[in-house]
């Protein structure tokens, strides 16, 4: 428990670093968002309106006051007012988009981790064999094929040329999503290509990670002892090797969540999927700084929560962390 408490403390600190960075970045840059809006309107705005704008966006008063106000708003999940859809709060669009992104990322992470682990275990056990020599390099190379390229090619082949899957969107345009069969089918059908594009560039790293960890563990005395005991291959493979090899993978999985979000962003752009990536891109084009900053805060939270979950899993799976003073 001491371990978890320490980690929790760290996550809080990391979160503070992230939101503080998020607070200061626009203030360090030449011209804060309000000034930019002011400039963009080319004098169509009166100075007193400008003051109101500054107040609305939290750019008035001393830096310390601004920072206090910023934290207070964050505490209430108030991400500020959208620069574009003035005076709509950013949070409504943000949470709508985040839902779709979390769905994509969740499904894709689950699939790529699962596929990667199974392949990693297999190729470590039969290392140097056909599957290992051919598919390990291929899978890892796909990892380096960048989401942009993979998503574009998938879209071109399966959506445009062969028209197997829809060209974009999260569900049929006429459908109002709900908890029914029709929605489930439509949503899954629309998610196939975006999820596939994320899975294809991610599972290779789990394959390689699990394989290499397993191969290095195969040389450990406790694995040799398990083999010497005449236990079945199955038992040695899962209970002795994979059971230990999975611990570092869980940690890397949580750390990679931020990276997976990056991949999801690209897929959403290609597949016109209504997630954070697509709306962030819109926000970039329309200079909606509030949204751009809010997505960072939200995603930082998601990554930290993922890490917290991985810590809890590690405590469950690794008895050495359970006793006090474990490291």
């Amino acid at each position: 428990m001491a371990f978890l408490a320490r980690r929790l403390g760290f996550y809080f600190a990391a979160f503070m670093v992230a939101i503080t960075l998020n607070f200061f970045l626009p203030r360090w840059m030449p011209g804060d968002p309000t000034t930019r809006i002011f400039m963009a309107l080319r004098g169509k705005m009166r100075p007193d309106q400008m003051e109101m704008l500054k107040k609305a966006y939290g750019y008035d008063g001393s830096l310390l006051e601004q920072y206090g106000q910023y934290l207070w708003k964050l505490l209430h999940l108030d991400f500020g007012i959208s620069t574009v859809n003035f005076p709509e709060p950013t949070s409504s669009l943000l949470f709508y988009a985040a839902g779709w992104t979390l769905f994509l990322v969740g499904v894709a992470t689950f699939l790529s981790f699962g596929i990667g682990l199974v392949m990693g275990i297999y190729s470590a056990w039969h290392r140097g064999g056909f599957f290992d020599s051919v598919f390990t390099p291929i899978n890892v190379m796909m990892n380096a094929f960048t989401p942009a390229v993979v998503a574009l090619l998938l879209w071109y082949a399966f959506a445009l040329e062969w028209a197997v899957f829809p060209l974009g969107r999260a569900h049929d345009i006429n459908l109002v999503p709900g908890w029914n069969w029709e929605s489930a089918v439509s949503i899954s059908w629309h998610a196939v290509l975006p999820v596939l594009s994320i899975v294809l560039v991610n599972f290779g790293s789990w394959h390689l990670g699990m394989r290499n960890t397993m191969i290095n563990l195969l040389n450990e005395d406790f694995v040799v002892l398990a083999k010497a005991k005449g236990l079945s291959d199955r038992r040695v493979r899962y209970r002795y090797v994979a059971r230990n090899a999975i611990l570092p993978q869980i940690t890397s999985l949580a750390l990679s969540v931020g990276f997976v979000f990056g991949g999801a962003f690209i897929s959403e752009v290609v597949f016109n999927y209504p997630g954070l990536g697509k709306f962030t891109l819109n926000a970039i084009e329309s200079r909606d700084y509030t949204f751009i900053q809010a997505q960072l805060t939200l995603l930082t939270c998601s990554v930290l929560i993922a890490n917290l979950i991985s810590d809890v899993l590690n405590v469950i799976f690794d008895p050495r962390l359970r006793t006090s003073g474990g490291h």
Partner: protein
């Protein structure tokens, strides 16, 4: 005169395969382990004694390769065993105690499971309950309170962990236990405890032991016969009682001189000048000859064979004895 042998090793050769070269770590060695005896393998680190131990248990790890020889266990060649026969050989007939008890236990599962899985695999008729009973029995045998069965390895001290490993090794009452430096990682007091315990268990249960250590004093106390290895070859095999008092091979003598005698007057300790040869660039002839004070012309030409000489009881491989 001859007691029946349990394991006959003939011409055992083990190679380590590199990408661009092969090192012959064990070069055609032959010896017997008799029923109920403790046979020791001595030698400097890197002489191949652990490699032999792993090969006998069919545990040679990549990139190691047992490229030749036979290992007969009660007349059957261990190296030719198929999967089914190997499963019976492993642990029911031969078990293993590793040097580092720290790494020999799976850190993430309770120790009980690590004893029980061996019983469940080999004696499924006992069931979970029987396996558990056996685990309790084994813990009592090595003197650890059975209520600690459900603890994890990191909750035990080094000495206790090694006892647990011995308990696991004894779980199926095997005929041979291979012990690869079982006490090296422990402090001296614990070392003594554990050795005494092994001696006691051995006399009670009657298993044979292949004992490997670089601690010659400990080995002489514990073993019946000792084989001395140098650079992947056996240079002498003799009774433990006579190996230091009447060493036949110059290397055995030198090795004996580098250890303090347990009793008797103090004497000057002598190290052995030079270092063991690189396995990739071996001298022709006797491998010890470049370091041997008594080397003759023939030593650099012809490799001596391990054989009996009339003047001694044991075997040795040295031209000086001709």
């Amino acid at each position: 005169m001859f007691s029946e042998s349990l394991m006959e090793v003939r011409n055992l050769t083990v190679d380590y395969v590199g990408e661009t070269s092969i090192a012959r770590a064990v070069n055609g060695i032959s010896f017997d382990i008799r029923k109920g005896e403790a046979f020791g393998l001595a030698g400097e680190s890197g002489c191949g004694k652990s490699t032999v131990a792993f090969a006998l248990a069919r545990l040679t790890r990549l990139p190691g390769l047992v490229s030749g020889g036979t290992v007969r266990f009660e007349g059957h060649d261990v190296l030719q065993f198929d999967k089914a026969r190997l499963k019976a050989y492993r642990w029911r007939e031969t078990s293993f105690v590793f040097q580092s008890a720290m790494n020999a236990l799976n850190p993430v599962i309770p120790v009980a499971e690590q004893i029980m899985d061996v019983v469940e695999t080999h004696q499924p008729e006992l069931g979970k309950r029987g396996a558990r009973a056996r685990a309790v029995e084994m813990f009592e045998l090595v003197g650890i309170p059975p209520q600690r069965l459900d603890d994890f390895p990191h909750q035990f001290s080094g000495g206790m962990r090694q006892r647990i490993c011995i308990a696991i090794a004894l779980a199926l009452n095997p005929k041979l236990i291979i012990m690869d430096e079982p006490t090296t990682a422990l402090d001296v007091v614990v070392q003594r405890d554990i050795i005494e315990q092994i001696v006691e268990l051995k006399s009670r249960l009657g298993f044979s032991v292949l004992f490997i250590t670089h601690d010659l004093g400990l080995m002489i106390e514990f073993c019946d016969r000792i084989g001395v290895m140098y650079s992947g070859e056996l240079v002498e095999v003799a009774a433990a009682s006579s190996i230091l008092t009447a060493p036949q091979h110059p290397y055995t003598r030198a090795l004996g001189n580098s250890f303090p005698p347990l009793t008797g007057p103090r004497q000057r300790l002598e190290g052995i000048a030079g270092s063991p040869p690189d396995l990739r660039a071996l001298p022709q002839g006797c491998r010890f000859s470049p370091r041997c004070q008594h080397a003759m012309a023939v030593c650099a030409e012809v490799a001596p064979e391990l054989r009996y000489y009339p003047q001694s009881e044991g075997q040795a491989a040295c031209h000086l004895l001709q």
